[in-house]
Each structure stands twice: as structure tokens, then as C-alpha cells.
């Protein structure tokens, strides 16, 4: 979505608050992400009625309720697929998905590669807390092995997955990562993502103090390290290398950006190719079936 295509307006971040108050626990990282969303919207001058915010199910997926905008609170894991339909239907409006690690990479994991490789022109903000918050603390695909959780009382049995490496492999054309404790960076990445033309993915470490006692805000603060200043964001190989840092540190900042035809552009191309329009003569279509 390039910002030029929608009407700008002047609104302060807090004016984007909806009438519904956040229901998250005190200290939950999701509060920080929400603040960053407000800020990014304000900086972009987005009119609430021009903004579409779509989520699945989870604590993180409650986010759209708190934002003044058009929004859908859909089903667990389906936000991305729903948003694909919305974006194709209204390619002129910015579409932002906000969701969780379980929502996106567990039950929703089958949709992720396809949004990315099709380069659906939307932003996906994933609030990664390494846990299922809403269902009270089961391990998620990004949970660390040592975590004892709700139905893994003796500890985890599997390797956590690496969201940004996945997204690079999938062909996302904008890949960033941040920590919710740094709302400035979060806001900047979300803003950049919305401005980006193509599928933009932003992974935000967002602590769940209630259920994830391992991945605390402090832990994340120690985990992250900014992408080196000289990193060339068009260099996929280096982006992948950063995503797989052997020292176990997690890079924050913008890792990768690429300009590629988006799915809605391709679709518009088809319409052009066949000379399509809303007042195409339907008789011509019917006549093809004359015997």
C-alpha cells in the first residue's frame, strides 16, 4: 500500500482510540503494540474510515477492537486469508492484520506462505509472545523448549520456529522485527510496512507476563540487537544470515525489502488484458455457449 493512494488527515495517536478499552493484563506487551499502531496511523495521516484492521482469535487478535477503523475479528488462524479477500476487493485501502504467534504460525501457518509469495499488498503485524495467552498458557510455535506449559507440563518437545526466516523464505517483500518495549521502532516499522507496496511482515516480541514466565520483557531486551547500519535491505542472503544469527541474538529493524508485482496488480492486469469493465456486454459472454 503506498500512502499516496489514500486521503490524509491530521489526527493525534490517541484520537485513534475506539470506544472499547483494552482488556489486556497490565504489563502485557500488546499495549505497546497498540500504541505503536496509533502512532503509525497518526504519522501516516490515515482516515479511520479508510483503514481496515483484521484479526483472528487470541489476546493479540483483540487489537482491532481498540482502534478506530473498519475491522474484522474473524476466526483463529484465518485473519490472513480473510484479509487477502478484503485487500483484493479494495486494493485502494490499507489492510493490516494483527495477530498472535499461535494464530499466525500454528493454526494459520498454512496461509502464511501464500500471502507472501502472492505478494498480497497488506501488512501483517504479529505479536510474538511465545505463548497462547488467551487460552491460558499453552506452548506456541515460538515457545522455547525449556518452557513448561499448560499441556506440556514436563517441558516442550520441539524446536521453536523462526518467524522472520520463514517470511524471508516465503517471499515477503518487507520483513521487519521489533520489541514491543520500543514503541518508536515498532511504529516506524509498522508505518514503513503500510507504506510498502506488497506483503509486509513485522514480527514484534510482545511479552506475556501472565503466562510466559521465561520470555519476559527483560529477556527480550537482552535478546534483541539492531540490524547493522550497513545492512543492505535488498540483500536476501544477508537478511537470512541475520535471521539465523549463530549467537542466538534476534535482529530488530528492517531486514529486507523488495519491489515486486502485487497480487492486486496482477489481477488488474488480467482485467486489462481481456478489456474488462463493469459494463462489458454480457451477451458476448452468453453467446459463447450457442451450439
Amino acid at each position: 500500500m503506498v500512502s499516496a493512494t489514500f486521503n490524509k488527515i491530521e489526527m493525534k495517536p490517541k484520537e485513534y482510540k475506539s470506544e472499547i478499552k483494552p482488556v489486556w493484563c497490565p504489563g502485557c506487551g500488546h499495549h505497546g503494540v497498540l500504541a505503536s499502531v496509533y502512532r503509525a496511523m497518526s504519522e501516516l495521516g490515515i482516515q479511520p474510515s479508510d483503514f481496515i484492521n483484521i484479526s483472528g482469535i487470541g489476546c493479540s487478535s483483540r487489537l482491532p477492537y481498540f482502534v478506530k477503523s473498519y475491522k474484522m475479528h474473524t476466526l483463529h488462524g484465518r485473519a490472513g486469508a480473510v484479509a487477502t479477500g478484503t485487500q483484493l476487493a479494495r486494493p485502494d485501502l490499507p489492510v493490516v492484520v494483527s495477530g498472535g504467534d499461535g494464530d499466525g504460525f500454528s493454526i494459520g501457518g498454512g496461509h502464511m506462505p501464500h500471502m507472501a509469495r502472492k505478494n498480497v499488498n497488506m501488512t501483517y503485524v504479529l505479536m510474538d509472545n511465545g505463548i497462547y495467552g488467551l487460552t491460558k498458557g499453552q506452548s506456541s510455535p515460538t515457545s522455547r523448549r525449556e518452557m513448561k506449559a499448560y499441556i506440556t507440563p514436563y517441558g516442550g518437545v520441539e524446536e521453536p520456529l523462526n518467524p522472520i526466516l520463514y517470511m524471508l523464505t516465503y517471499g515477503a517483500t518487507y520483513v521487519g522485527q521489533a520489541f514491543a518495549g520500543n514503541p518508536k521502532m515498532c511504529a516506524a516499522l509498522i508505518k514503513g510496512a503500510i507504506e510498502h507496496k506488497g506483503f509486509a511482515y513485522v514480527n514484534i516480541f510482545s511479552q506475556c507476563p501472565t503466562f510466559n514466565k521465561l520470555d519476559t520483557a527483560k529477556f527480550y531486551r537482552g535478546l534483541v540487537e539492531e540490524v547493522p547500519e550497513d545492512h543492505d535491505t535488498s540483500d536476501m542472503e544477508n537478511a537470512m544470515r541475520l535471521a539465523r544469527r549463530p549467537d542466538g541474538k534476534a535482529p530488530v529493524g528492517l531486514l529486507y525489502q523488495e519491489d515486486r508485482q502485487t497480487l492486486d496488480e496482477a489481477m488488474a492486469g488480467l482485467v486489462e488484458l481481456v478489456g474488462g469493465s463493469a459494463d462489458y456486454d454480457l451477451k458476448k459472454i452468453i453467446d459463447k455457449n450457442r451450439p
Binding site: 470506544e19 472499547i20 482516515q47 479511520p48 474510515s49 479508510d50 481496515i52 483484521i54 482469535i57 482491532p64 477492537y65 478506530k68 477503523s69 473498519y70 475491522k71 474484522m72 475479528h73 474473524t74 476466526l75 484465518r78 486469508a81 480473510v82 484479509a83 487477502t84 479477500g85 478484503t86 485487500q87 483484493l88 476487493a89 479494495r90 485502494d92 485501502l93 498454512g110 496461509h111 506462505p113 501464500h114 497480487l263 489481477m267 488480467l270 482485467v271 488484458l273 481481456v274 478489456g275 474488462g276 469493465s277 463493469a278 462489458y280 454480457l282 451477451k283 459472454i285 452468453i286 453467446d287 455457449n289 450457442r290 451450439p291
Partner: protein, 572 residues
């Protein structure tokens, strides 16, 4: 013996031998000559090879089904002969590949046989693939298939591929004619004479659904391939860009349904088409369509189940899933089509209904209708009313789930200032805010059911057929079985039987009063359907006072008129 106006030719052989194109050419030529067409096909579930059958029924009058059996049977190979020889009863005609085919049939008493050395001639012509042209030439002579229109059809088909290809095929065709002319015609079967051209199109069920979608001003389609529904997407994919719409192939049926809801939220007329396994996968999202009140049309082209089942076979067994396939109390409108004409018209209507009532609409077609090509009056694009969803008028404060008088809450398209709202999968207040107290849930449950009730009066009353007044047997049936019942009723009435029928196409919510009124004039109610459990019978029992007699078959094939005739006689 008088000439038979209504002729049924069955062609069978190995998939890939041109069975389908032979049948298609005959159908097109007859349709072009002003005759009515109803074809029936069965395919193997494998890609190459396997037994393949194409039956074309043609008449000067409208034909409603594939018929009881064939008049003329054309065997391309020994397997086809073996599988059909028990149907070669006295009075039938048999055309076969011989001499030089892979079998030597015995000709039963009373059967007229014409041996046409199709394979041998094709090989002599230098290409085995011309076998079907040789057969076609022979059939055209033997059964009076209009040669002018046949040549036109062949020319339209082959000319674009090159003059030489056209010429070669016409040569094979001529060879076939010659071979037939060597026979003396001893049976009475001939295609009815041309009656002058009619304003018709010839189209199969799946494409007709696609055409209906285009005429219904569809804007968004999301597809995942699934036999026997894929041709709906095939048709739409080629045509929808012309009207500026979008078709996307999704990663699975769940994504398809999700995309449909996303596009619908954005204000677009949206649909998908699938078969049973896909409908099962969509169950959760269909519930979201109910809860969030998002329009969505789902076409289910039923096939043999359960599970992967019989992918290419006919069955009407997804009714339970269509009506009851959601967790919680999740109302939806369920429609079912009878024939190709319905496929066009009811798809338009279904798109209108989903927009009007903001609820999922599931339209049931089936495997035999999917591939059945039929002649139908050429649709007039301007004759279709397009009903749009009620949109917010911009006055006052917007409440997405407002309790209005008719229970339809105006929608607001994204981009409309002041109309910001949530499409909510959680239970909610009128504004859409999550709420789990008793009152909103009770009120919304009532709303979701009651808002769709007016469709019962809005939808045309179910068509009736047969005798006036009191009947010994009243038939109620659905889907493509209706066309079979029509003929059975006509025959029974002609025999003086007191039989009538009712053909509901709005299945759910059920027009209970119509059922009761109909049943009140019948001594007993017979419900033929192609599934094991008697699924429509179940709903009739559950929702009306009627105690129907179920008549179920499930062999992967449609009913024949004779089966229903016999059953009626048996019970009356």
C-alpha cells in the same frame, strides 16, 4: 412402428478415445438444428483410461432427464460391451467397433446391430485418434443426425486448429458415412427432424452456475479445485475478468471461504464453489458468515460420500451437512437446483438472497447435473433483477447490528466515513462490541433465525405437477431427481394413475405450509432421493406433520423415470 421422436444414444468405451467429443458433437449438431438436448456422462476417477460413458438424449420437445436406458448403444470396446450387453433388449439398436475391434459381440434376438470397423478404418486413415470421427460419420447416417449442422459444428471446432486438421477429420467423418451406407437401415430410430433454429444455448451444469454468477454480477470468486465442482471456477476464471471481477485460486477450501468473507466485508458480491469435502472444511467459516452477518454464496456440487468416497459419481447426500453443518445454532439458506436452467437463474437468485439477508446461502447441485449439457433458452442479461445489500444511509450514529424492524441491519462499506465497525465472530451488542450476557445472545439468536424467515414467502411457491385434486401418491423430491420425477409423473398420469408431485427448491428454511397443503391432498407421500439415509425425508418428518415414504438409492447413478414409476405402482 412409428418413428420415435425422443432418442437416446449411449456411447461408451475407454476414456481418451473421444467418447466425450463424439457425444458433444452430436449434442451440438442436434441443438443447432433446433432440438432439445439432455446429456449424461460418467467418468472414471482416474485420469487416463477407465470406463467412460456419454449418453445423449434428444427430442423435439423438452427432455428432463437422461432416460431409462438407451435406444441406441454404441460400443467402442469390449469392456463397454460387457458392461452394457444386459441392456441390449429386443427393440434396441447396437452399433459396435467391428470387425477388427477388440471384441466380437453376440447379437441377441430382436436387437438391430450395425458393425462399423471404427478402429480399423481409423488406423487405415493413419491416426487412431480419428476413431470417433469415423463413428460420428456412421451415426449421422444411421440415425438421421443433421449433417449440415454437424459439419458446422466440426468446422467451428477444428478450423481454428488448422485447415489440415479440419480436412483430416472431415475425411474420417466421410469414411464413417460410407461404412454406414453399406448397411441397410432396419430399425426405426432416428433423430427428430430439424424444427428450425431456436434461441438456445447448450451448456453444462457447472458452466451454467458460472454463467449465473456472471449474470448475477458476481465480483469475487475464490476457488480450490475439487471434482465435480471445478468447472464452475474454470468458467468464471475465464469470464470474470471481463466484468472487472476477481477470481483467485486459494491454497485450500478454508482459505477460499475466508477470502470470500473478506471480500464480502469489503462490499463485494462473493462466492465459492466446492463439493462435499470442501463444504465440510468450510463449516467453521460458514458459521462466521452467520454470526457476523456477512453475505456469502457457497455452491456445493455434491458427489458420492462419505469421505473421498466416489469423487466422480452422482449423489444427493450433503443435505444434512448443508443445513446442520455448523456448531451452535447457525442458520443459513439452503437452495437446490433441478437442471441447467436453474443453474443459471438460481445462481443469480442465490447471490441476491445472500446480499439481501446477510447470511450464508448454500446452493446444492450434484455430480450428474455438473456435467450434463442441456439446451436452455438463451438468457437475457437485462431480465435479471440485481438485489444489493441494504447499505447505511449515513444518518445518525452507525450501529452495524442494529435491531431494525425487518431485522436486516444496514451495512457500511469500508471507506465510508462514520461507518467504521467490526465484523464480529463473537456474540455482540448492536454496535458489535463483544458481549456474553444472556440478553444480547438471546436477541441475536432470534434475529439470525427470524430475519431469514421472509424468504419463505418471497421465494416462488414450489412447483406442482400431476393430477388436480386428491392423489393416491404425492411425490416430493429435490435436485436433479425432479427432472426424473416429472417424466415419471407424466407417464403415470397418462396411465390414469392419480399421482401428483411437488418440487421444492428452497430447502431451508422449509416452506412448511406448502408441504402441508400438498400432503393434505395426497394419500401418501413418496420421497425419492439419491442418498442412503433419506435426508430430505428426515427434514420433512422433523418439520412437518407428514410421514413420508423414503425411496433411496445410492449406487452413484441418478434415478430413472421407470424406477419411480415402478415404486409408485408398488406402493399405491
Amino acid at each position: 412402428m412409428t418413428e420415435k421422436n425422443d432418442l437416446i444414444i449411449r456411447i461408451a468405451g475407454e476414456g481418451g478415445e473421444g467418447i466425450v467429443s463424439t457425444g458433444d458433437f452430436i449434442a451440438a449438431a442436434c441443438a443447432r438444428a433446433g432440438l432439445e438436448i439432455y446429456t449424461f456422462k460418467t467418468f472414471p476417477a482416474e485420469i487416463k483410461g477407465g470406463y467412460c460413458l456419454y449418453q445423449v438424449r434428444t427430442s423435439a420437445e423438452r427432455v428432463y432427464n437422461q432416460g431409462d436406458t438407451f435406444d441406441v448403444f454404441v460400443a467402442y470396446n469390449g469392456e463397454a460391451y460387457e458392461l452394457n450387453k444386459h441392456l441390449l433388449t429386443p427393440g434396441t439398436t447396437f452399433v459396435y467397433d467391428g470387425p477388427g475391434g477388440d471384441f466380437e459381440p453376440e447379437i441377441p434376438e430382436g436387437v438391430t446391430a450395425y458393425a462399423i470397423p471404427m478402429s480399423k478404418t481409423a488406423k487405415a486413415l493413419g491416426s487412431y485418434r480419428s476413431k470417433n470421427m469415423v463413428a460420428l460419420g456412421a451415426l449421422s447416417v444411421l440415425f438421421n443426425i443433421n449433417e449440415t449442422t454437424l459439419i458446422e459444428v466440426l468446422t467451428n471446432k477444428f478450423k481454428p486448429k488448422g485447415e489440415d486438421i479440419l480436412e483430416f477429420n472431415l475425411k474420417a467423418f466421410a469414411e464413417g458415412k460410407k461404412l454406414a451406407n453399406e448397411h441397410k437401415k432396419t430399425d426405426d430410430f432416428r433423430v427428430a427432424d430439424a424444427t428450425g433454429t431456436k434461441d438456445v444455448i447448450l451448456i453444462a451444469g457447472n458452466e451454467a452456475v458460472g454463467m449465473g454468477a456472471i449474470l448475477g454480477r458476481l465480483e469475487f470468486f475464490s476457488a480450490y479445485p475439487l471434482t465435480p465442482a471445478t468447472e464452475v471456477a474454470k468458467y468464471v476464471s475465464a469470464q470474470l475478468p471481463k466484468t472487472g471481477g476477481t477470481l483467485i485460486q486459494a491454497e485450500d477450501e478454508i482459505a477460499s471461504m475466508a477470502q470470500v468473507l473478506g471480500a464480502s466485508y469489503a462490499g463485494k458480491r462473493s462466492m465459492t464453489a466446492t463439493s462435499g469435502p470442501g463444504l465440510a472444511l468450510m463449516s467453521e467459516l460458514i458459521g462466521m458468515s452467520t454470526m457476523a452477518e456477512l453475505p456469502a454464496l457457497i455452491v456445493d456440487v455434491q458427489r458420492g460420500g462419505p469421505s473421498t468416497g466416489l469423487p466422480t459419481k452422482h449423489e444427493q447426500s450433503d443435505l444434512f451437512l448443508a443445513v446442520h453443518g455448523g456448531h451452535g445454532d447457525s442458520p443459513r439458506i439452503v437452495l437446490s437446483v433441478e437442471d441447467v436452467n436453474d443453474c443459471v437463474n438460481m445462481t443469480v437468485a442465490a447471490l441476491n438472497l445472500t446480499e439481501q439477508y446477510q447470511c450464508p446461502v448454500i446452493m446444492l447441485s450434484d455430480g450428474s447435473l455438473a456435467f450434463s449439457t442441456q439446451t436452455i433458452p438463451t438468457p437475457d442479461p437485462d431480465s435479471f433483477e440485481i438485489v444489493e445489500r441494504t447499505r447505511w444511509d449515513g444518518e445518525g450514529e452507525y450501529m452495524r447490528y442494529k435491531m431494525t424492524e425487518n431485522l436486516i441491519s444496514p451495512m457500511a462499506d469500508p471507506g465510508t466515513p462514520g461507518g467504521e465497525h467490526v465484523a464480529a465472530s463473537l456474540e455482540h451488542t448492536e454496535s458489535g462490541a463483544p458481549n456474553f450476557a444472556p440478553e444480547p445472545h438471546e436477541a441475536n439468536a432470534r434475529k439470525r433465525f427470524n430475519k431469514i424467515k421472509p424468504v419463505i414467502d418471497q421465494w416462488p411457491a414450489a412447483e406442482m405437477d400431476g393430477v388436480e385434486g386428491e392423489a393416491d401418491v404425492g411425490i416430493i423430491t429435490w435436485g436433479s431427481t425432479i427432472g426424473v420425477a416429472r417424466e415419471a409423473v407424466a407417464r403415470l398420469v397418462a396411465e390414469g394413475k392419480k399421482v401428483k408431485a411437488m418440487y421444492p427448491k428452497l430447502i431451508y428454511p422449509m416452506p412448511v405450509d406448502q408441504y402441508e397443503a400438498f400432503a393434505a391432498t395426497c394419500k401418501q407421500i413418496l420421497v425419492p432421493e439419491v442418498n442412503y439415509q433419506g435426508q430430505l425425508s428426515h427434514f420433512i418428518r422433523a418439520e412437518t406433520s407428514i410421514k413420508p415414504v423414503p425411496y433411496t438409492i445410492c449406487g452413484g447413478l441418478p434415478f430413472t423415470p421407470a424406477q419411480i414409476v415402478n415404486k409408485v405402482k408398488e406402493i399405491s
